[in-house]
Amino acid sequence: MDINFQPIIDSWPFLAKALRTTLLVSVLSTGLGFAIGVTVGILRTYGGRILDILLGFYVDTMRAIPLLVVLVWAFFAFPLVVGYSIDALTAGVVGLGIHLGAYVAETVRAGLTSVRRNQMQAALALGMGRFQAIRTIILPQALIRMLPALGSLLIIAIKDSAIASVIAVPELLRQTQIVAGKTFRPFELYTAAMLVYFALCYPVARGIDRVYRRIAHLGSS
């Protein structure tokens, strides 16, 4: 097999732009997913039975529907429902974020419930408000315990950005496909894409692991 990396060299500005889009989609969808997840996780834990049932339906729905279906629905069906069209990038970020949010919510809920109940009772007995107790006592401990799981979700979010290629978000995998299709060099192009995804995700995995090792003791109670 002859190997020729010239197509990658020739197209590097095109692929670099695609990498920027991958990072943008990852950052925005992670931000949205974590914002939704933390809010839903806290509300399900402390918001009462009705909120728990309603938000539980959202979590179970997102866990029951494949991400690909969510993305295609967000791009094709959602504009018909609301009468307002959204571009592929927005649909991708929203679809990925909403889907990720469900998993983050369950991780946050598990983290919060892992902190012993009497800590909340002690905080309330000291005169703290409920929100203040969550913010200053429960959540800091819970976040440390959640860190490995949240780190895994962050890595999944970066990798899942590639699924947005199906609705033509011009991210790394899609643009790699275009160059591979044009140059008929699938081996070189897809190998390069694989290495780039590895280079993005591996440091995140190792970094989170190192941080967790350092602060894990702060989460124990």
Binding site: D10, A168, I178, A180, G181, K182, T183, F184, R185
Partner: protein, 280 residues
């Protein structure tokens, strides 16, 4: 008397020439407000949204990172439409799976992704056909199963596997043309042909647009085509028109797009030929 007769004849000839031109010109003029809801919406928005995915030689994507995003017949038509409407041109990237359904969502006004005209597609969209295409089949030259294949008809064998992109016209054409062959549909990879299936030996042959074969043959050594060699360019297998498409709901918009193309036909053909020559 003779002069008068000559003058009369000349006037008649001139009228015969000018009248159709005037008609064509009238057809390509942007319809007045109220005639086409789509054109009114585009003008109000100030943007013509075109769905696009690159495909040689009708809409090759520029992957250099600078310059216009596309070239080719589909692109020069899109630029001309935007110019005549006095609006900006905006590309909506699509995949092979989404290049037709996107028109129904309203996310794009025109799909300039090169589309082969098929009866199924004609049920849901209107075409402006600007080119033609037919298919060739190709495989590895050293594949022992292809050693005895001399004509396209010889490919109709149970021990051969043919790859094609799902959602593309060969999906419905191949089972009728090659009833004995094993078919293997794969997701579109952005390439003109599922070359990965051939190189990985998951399939023995695959389909490719005849005009794209010379470029593939040049860039990937060790392949063989059916019909063989230059005969591929004259292939009549699944011969069909190629064009851009619009939603069926606005016939006035479609007529205007067609009229503009009719006016630009020579330039569009020249662009395609230029790209084909540059790939040789």
């Amino acid at each position: 008397m003779i002069v008068a007769k000559l003058f009369r004849n000349a006037a008649l000839v001139a009228a015969l020439i000018v009248f159709p031109l005037t008609l064509a010109q009238a057809g390509s003029e942007v319809p007045a407000p109220g005639q086409s809801p789509k054109i009114d919406a585009i003008k109000e928005r100030g943007v013509l949204k075109v769905a696009a995915i690159g495909e040689f030689p009708w809409l090759p994507e520029n992957t250099s990172g600078s310059g216009p995003q596309f070239s080719g017949p589909g692109w020069i038509l899109a630029e001309e439409y935007a110019k005549r409407l006095g609006v900006k041109l905006e590309v909506v990237p699509v995949s092979h799976e989404t290049k037709v359904p996107i028109l129904a969502t309203g996310e794009a006004d025109i799909s300039i992704a090169p589309l082969a005209v098929t009866p199924k597609r004609e049920e849901v969209v209107n075409f402006v056909v600007y080119s033609r295409s037919s298919l060739c089949m190709f495989g590895l030259a050293d594949n022992p199963k292809l050693k005895d294949v001399k004509t396209v008809d010889d490919l109709n064998r149970e021990d051969l596997t043919m790859a094609y992109f799902t959602g593309t016209p060969p999906e419905t054409w191949a089972p009728q043309r090659f009833p004995k062959i094993k078919l293997r549909g794969v997701a579109g990879s952005g390439a003109n042909a599922p070359i990965e299936e051939i190189l990985s030996k998951r399939a023995d042959i695959a389909t490719i647009d005849n005009v794209a074969w010379p470029a593939l043959n040049k860039q990937v050594p060790g392949l063989v085509s059916f019909p063989p060699g230059d005969e591929c360019l004259k292939s009549n297998e699944m011969s069909t028109g190629v064009g851009l498409a619009v939603d069926k709901t606005d016939p006035v918009f479609h007529q205007w797009l067609q009229a503009v193309y009719d006016e630009m036909k020579d330039a569009v053909t020249a662009e395609e030929l230029k790209l084909l020559k540059s790939s040789e």
